[in-house]
Symmetry: C2
Subunit: 220 residues, 2 copies
Amino acid sequence: MSKRKTKDLLYEEVARIGKAVSSPKRLELLELLAQGEKTVDALAVEAGIDTKLASAHLKVLKAARLVEAQRDGRFIAYRLSGEDVGALWVKLRTVAEEHLVELRVAMEQIFAAPEKLDTETRRSLMEKARRGDVVVIDVRPSAEYASGHLPFARSMPLDEIRQRIKELPADRDIVAYCRGPFCMMSAEAVALLKEHGLRAQKIADGTAEWQAAGLPLAGP
Amino acid sequence: MSKRKTKDLLYEEVARIGKAVSSPKRLELLELLAQGEKTVDALAVEAGIDTKLASAHLKVLKAARLVEAQRDGRFIAYRLSGEDVGALWVKLRTVAEEHLVELRVAMEQIFAAPEKLDTETRRSLMEKARRGDVVVIDVRPSAEYASGHLPFARSMPLDEIRQRIKELPADRDIVAYCRGPFCMMSAEAVALLKEHGLRAQKIADGTAEWQAAGLPLAGP
DNA sequence: GCAACATTCTAATAATCGTTGGAATATGCG
DNA sequence: CGCATATTCCAACGATTATTAGAATGTTGC
């Protein structure tokens, strides 16, 4: 085979991955799946699309081997086919944040302070959480917490914060995180906590960002 | 604005990057640009496409802010708009190699031994090259060597190896590298060197892989 | 086996993308 | 200035892709 054709073949294969991540909805699905296994229906609801459309997009992701499906009773659970897929999503998002002014502007309008963490800051946060100097709360649905979460973080789903607010200390910093920089749950949680006079702040990281930085997760 | 619309906007922005890397030819152009600045015509020739088509693809990459253009006399030089773009290409290729069986099979057929390096091996290679225990040669065109290369590597373009073969020692290991795992220049170089009785082997890394592993380059 | 449900498949449409040819623009040189 | 070179713009086509609706498949629990 000619050198040219061989090369074409190789790049075409890689482009299969590129095509899979070229649709906004598929990226959203990948981010959701980075939070743990989910059924088609759950994914569709969270991404705000029809089940049929979600299924079609998942099929594309599956064809690119970025996700795997497993039937579990009446449901079919999808999950990322590897840690590296989560890392790829993080890389794409990072490059987009770095280079696309439009995205940066949009994010600044939505999230007042774009707190970027470096690995050192992440490590020291983990250490403070271990010692109990700060309380790290995971405000995602509990199933997502269960399938992997930041070390020393407590599960405190956004829906439950109102009722469980007295579980949180008033004399220590509370750090909330959710699915990642595009997720608004931690911001809502912080607003809620501040209303009640607690010292709360959010970080942009989700588990995928944490992992992509080379740090370990806890659980499942 | 509704939460849904806000999210859609964010993912759409990231998908701009995804769309940019969804075409095989654009990926090839990115890999070429990871070797250093190049003109439209040089890129077109190396990628085996029409100048017009190259220009069109470069326009897409530029719109996604993955590359930058600068006029330099009669030519327009394109370059990656950041190190992270090279890292994105490496990540995409790595995920593809990891998950796409077809790609792995194709690569195994072409390149007998797919030598994957970890960071430790890379460091020790660099150390050996520093001490002179092995001779690392960069077989890419000299302009690419000039715009950044592995530390302690010598430039020995594939075209010139035949004439310059006596510059290489017969009593030490010679390690050749080129543009990356998809590039065939190092394999050709090794074949040539072995014909002349030299102890040669190749590594899959190019400068982008090296950099993505967190290691420093030398030059320009 | 049948009902109920979750998911996928099929078909059809509109929108987008890759590619090509021809014309247009910008630069440097005589 | 006018010419050669390098690159981009424009228009057009055929090929994909996203999306939607409706039919079909597979699984569980009775």
